[in-house]
């Protein structure tokens, strides 16, 4: 279990994401790094992990290479069940998805995510400063998976007091029972995995709270890169560097072509 000394920010995100996934649970996997993390978990501590992709595949063994799309042919071969988008989201709305694994361009302290637009909302909704792809399935997962794991690159502009547009609701305004009052299901955001550390949400306040710092980061350096006041867990600890074997798996077996895990040196 030698620690790697040569890994990238995306690689530690993948390792962190994979460790949060529990064996034998059903995880609704969004596109990009979540796919890599689910594969890594499956190849390491969670061989019984059951991925669900929004285009319809449930429980594929993923032995034909990394999908580049959640609708990719590679998600279907060997799956237990394949229908379309409605079926996948209905499973989720019904309560079958233990975890949802989603990314976003901007997040606030309650885990509300934006992947719609940057700019002046609501007035500038029809003329956004930067138009992002849109929700895709993210807001559906946020609304209906039992717990969600968020991935957001850590950057002061992305960890904001308020998101420009709330695409994927998290703990809303953080008030107790806010999700229930809004008619939502599920416990909402569970972990945030960033390029600098890992957060959970404090019980009661539902505010984002640092629980792990990555090697080379400190509580202070992470607060510095955050656009709101980050709570800090009394048990905050360093997240161990990925092992050489984990990095080998990512680079050689899971994403050998760097489709999602870019080879930018850390």
């Amino acid at each position: 279990m030698t620690a790697s000394t040569d890994y990238t920010a995306q690689e530690i995100i993948v390792v962190a994401g994979s460790k949060i996934l529990e064996d034998n649970k059903i995880v609704f996997v969004g596109t990009g790094l979540p796919m890599v993390a689910a594969l890594l978990a499956n190849r390491t501590h969670a061989p019984g992990l059951i991925p669900v992709f929004e285009a319809g595949a449930v429980g594929p063994p993923l032995r034909h290479g990394l999908p580049v799309s959640v609708g990719d042919s590679r998600t279907f071969t060997g799956a237990s069940y394949v229908k379309g988008l409605n079926a996948a989201f209905e499973l989720t709305q019904r309560g079958f998805a233990d975890f949802g694994f989603i990314g976003g361009a901007e997040v606030d302290m309650y885990g509300n995510l934006n992947s719609t637009m940057m700019g002046d909302y609501p007035d500038g909704y029809q003329t956004p400063k930067v138009r992002l792809p849109g929700s895709g399935g993210a807001s559906d997962m946020a609304a209906s998976c039992e717990r969600t794991i968020l991935i957001v690159p850590h950057d002061k502009k992305k960890f904001n007091q308020q998101v420009s547009y709330m695409t994927s609701p998290g703990h809303l305004d953080g008030s107790p029972g806010a999700r229930q009052k809004a008619g939502m299901q599920g416990k909402g955001p569970y972990r945030v995995i960033t390029t600098k550390g890992i957060c959970d949400f404090e019980e009661g306040s539902n505010r984002m709270r640092l629980i792990h710092t990555y090697p080379g980061e400190t509580v202070e350096s992470i607060q510095e890169a955050t656009g709101f006041e980050l709570l800090v867990s009394p048990d905050v600890s360093e997240f161990p560097a990925p092992t050489v074997e984990e990095i080998r798996l990512i680079r050689e077996e899971i994403d050998p072509n760097g489709v999602f895990v870019k080879r930018v040196a850390k």
Partner: protein, 338 residues
């Protein structure tokens, strides 16, 4: 946003959608025609066009090329997640908004996942050239589903909590049974839908491999449907296991055999993505978003779309090497004896 918060129908209202079907010839008849004829006959200016597939999987690319050659005006495009289909249509609008014009897009996502963001989307949206209505994948899929079920609306929990409910025609009501809040979203009944599938018979019965996406719902919701297929096969073979049929003939108006009709996107059992072609195409649009020249994009259109008669002409330009390569890749994902 201005008017999305108020209710109006794009495409057909539920009652109009019903009447369209009631008055339609739903018989089991030969619906084969050229793609040129199908597009000319069933896609009209001002239509709401439902687009099948998901991101760059099974998008109706051949049909989009033909639409561009014929030109289109004031279209509303409706889809959950799309990639190259709106990217081609949007790029055509960038080059010549008089000839090719999109008025409005109702969508969940427009980008290309592993192949990158959508510059056509950024161009059209950031310049305010189109009306936008954001939904989620399940919202849009459920809207088509409501349309396919003959319902004016469907409840869903997805729009609760976030901002989508405020920038779309979603309403939040108190559930008549639990008293808890729940979202209700209006059906989508496009005037016409454009789909690509693996196999069809001449009557329009369709088999889909891999994800069904939301294709069946879109077809059943629409007043008319144009289907392109990799293989046009006999009715007897197609329906040898009727449970494989995802779209019944009565929902289809035109059937066209177009091998590689979703290229450069993927089509399960036939070909995987041509990532290079997709990235190259996106690379032609990206500079224009920042105000760069349109020459390179125009050259692509002149060579690959306007410069050919039909999709086979496009495939000839692409060349055998690339077509065999994406076919070989898919055979690794999904090995099958011919």
């Amino acid at each position: 946003m201005e008017n999305n918060a108020n209710m109006f129908w794009t495409g057909l209202s539920p009652d109009e959608a019903r009447e369209a079907l009631v008055n339609k010839d739903k018989s089991m008849r030969d619906k084969r025609m050229s793609l040129k004829d199908a597009v000319s006959k069933f896609i009209n200016d001002g239509d709401n066009v439902g687009i099948g597939g998901f991101v760059d999987v099974r998008q109706p690319i051949a049909t989009c090329h033909e639409m561009i050659r014929q030109g289109f005006k004031d279209l509303t495009l409706s889809f959950q997640s799309a990639g190259m289909a709106p990217e081609y249509l949007g790029a055509a609008m960038i080059l010549n908004p008089e000839k090719c014009n999109i008025k409005r897009i109702e969508l969940a996502y427009w980008a290309h996942e592993g192949f990158g963001l959508a510059p056509g989307w950024r161009y059209l949206a950031e310049r305010g050239l189109i009306d936008i209505e954001d939904w989620s994948n399940y919202n849009m899929s459920a809207r088509f589903k409501a349309g396919s079920m003959g319902l004016p609306f469907i409840p869903t929990r997805s729009p609760l909590g976030g901002d989508i409910k405020d920038t779309s025609r979603t309403k939040i009501i108190d559930c008549p049974f639990t008293g808890r809040k729940i979202g209700v979203i209006p059906a989508s009944n496009p005037n016409v839908s454009v789909l690509h599938v693996q196999a069809a018979d001449k009557f329009g019965n369709c088999i889909i491999r891999g994800t069904d996406c939301t294709c069946a719902e879109i077809a059943m919701a629409s007043a008319h449907t144009i289907v392109t297929c990799e293989q046009l096969v006999s009715h007897e073979l197609l329906c040898s296991n009727p449970k494989d049929v995802m779209i019944p003939f009565a929902a289809v108006d035109a059937v066209v055999e177009v091998p590689y009709g979703a290229y450069p996107g993927a089509c399960r059992r036939h070909y995987w993505f041509d990532g290079d072609h997709i990235r190259n195409f996106l690379g032609l649009i990206a500079p224009i978003v920042k105000g760069g020249p349109t020459d390179a994009l125009k050259a692509y259109f002149d060579e690959y779309i306007y410069g050919v008669e039909n999709f086979e002409g496009f495939l000839q330009k692409v060349g055998v090497k690339d077509l065999l390569a994406v076919k070989a890749l898919e055979m690794q994902n999904c090995e099958r004896l011919a």
